[in-house]
């Protein structure tokens, strides 16, 4: 998809509007880096879920808070590092992210709970650690198109 590695760092505001703006900037970088559209879409989906989680939980939807997203685009995939300065993940552990069951009557279908499932289903490496008051989330996406 591209011959050499390219890297970029994005500062994102931890609000719904800030996340949207950040995702659009990141998408342009991925497009400009020659990443296949399907892979761009996958990256935007997992980044959206990860950044929304930071805004909603680490920063408790206060609408302010800094997030630093570092991307490394390589021929075989994309490495993503997300750092924030908010609250730690409960239990200092990643949620299991099981896909919510749809075996319910229409009126009881789930309207949420898909975020970590989407992240886990699309990443082949996912790590979290807390260090010096910061959350670090590492994700790797493999480029299946070659």
């Amino acid at each position: 998809m591209h011959d050499s590695a390219s890297t970029a760092v994005f500062n994102v505001d931890a609000s719904p509007e800030g996340v949207r703006d950040g995702l659009q900037r990141i998408r342009r970088f991925l497009d400009d880096s020659g990443v296949h559209q399907d892979m761009c879409g996958t990256a935007e989906i997992v980044l959206a879920e990860a950044l929304n989680n930071v805004a909603e939980h680490a920063y408790e939807l206060r609408g302010i808070g800094d997030v630093i997203v570092t991307l490394l685009v390589e021929p075989d995939g994309i490495q993503i590092d997300i750092v924030d300065f908010g609250l730690a993940l409960p239990g200092l552990d990643l949620p299991r992210g099981k896909r919510p069951s749809l075996h319910h009557p229409k009126g009881a279908l789930p309207e949420g709970g898909f975020g970590w499932f989407l992240i886990r289903s699309q990443t082949d490496a996912l790590r979290y650690h807390r260090d010096d008051g910061r959350n670090h989330l590492y994700m790797h996406l493999t480029n299946e198109a070659g």
Partner: protein, 112 residues
């Protein structure tokens, strides 16, 4: 949230005039859908052709829009762009909704 609608034979087609349904607009989308479907239209088709991206909040808002319909109303989807389709496939929500490839073929595909 900019939604517009037309009645096309048996279908009330509601078009999302926006590029994204995400966490920033999920509640507004759900409220706008409540207004659009509040007339009791029996067969609503949500045209997502202009929507390039949804996150799980947007997905949840679409599901909520279906759940808030009255008795005798149904909600189909139409024209999923690639990244939107990906979210529906991954979550298997594509199995919950009837999804039309285009608005032009609505009448041909839908028997009732």
């Amino acid at each position: 949230m900019d939604l517009s609608s037309i009645q096309n034979g048996p279908y009330k087609i509601v078009t999302v005039n926006a590029r994204r349904i995400d966490a920033a607009v999920a509640i507004q989308f759900k409220d706008a859908m409540r207004v659009q479907t509040g007339d009791g239209a029996a067969h609503v088709v949500l045209d997502l052709g202009q929507v390039a991206f949804i996150d799980s909040s947007g997905l949840g808002a679409i599901v909520a829009s279906m759940k808030q319909l009255g008795v005798g109303q149904r909600l189909d989807l139409a024209v999923l762009t690639p990244d939107v389709e990906k979210v529906f496939l991954l979550t298997r929500m594509d199995s919950i909704f009837t999804i039309h490839d285009s608005l032009e073929t609505l009448g041909h595909r839908q028997a009732g």
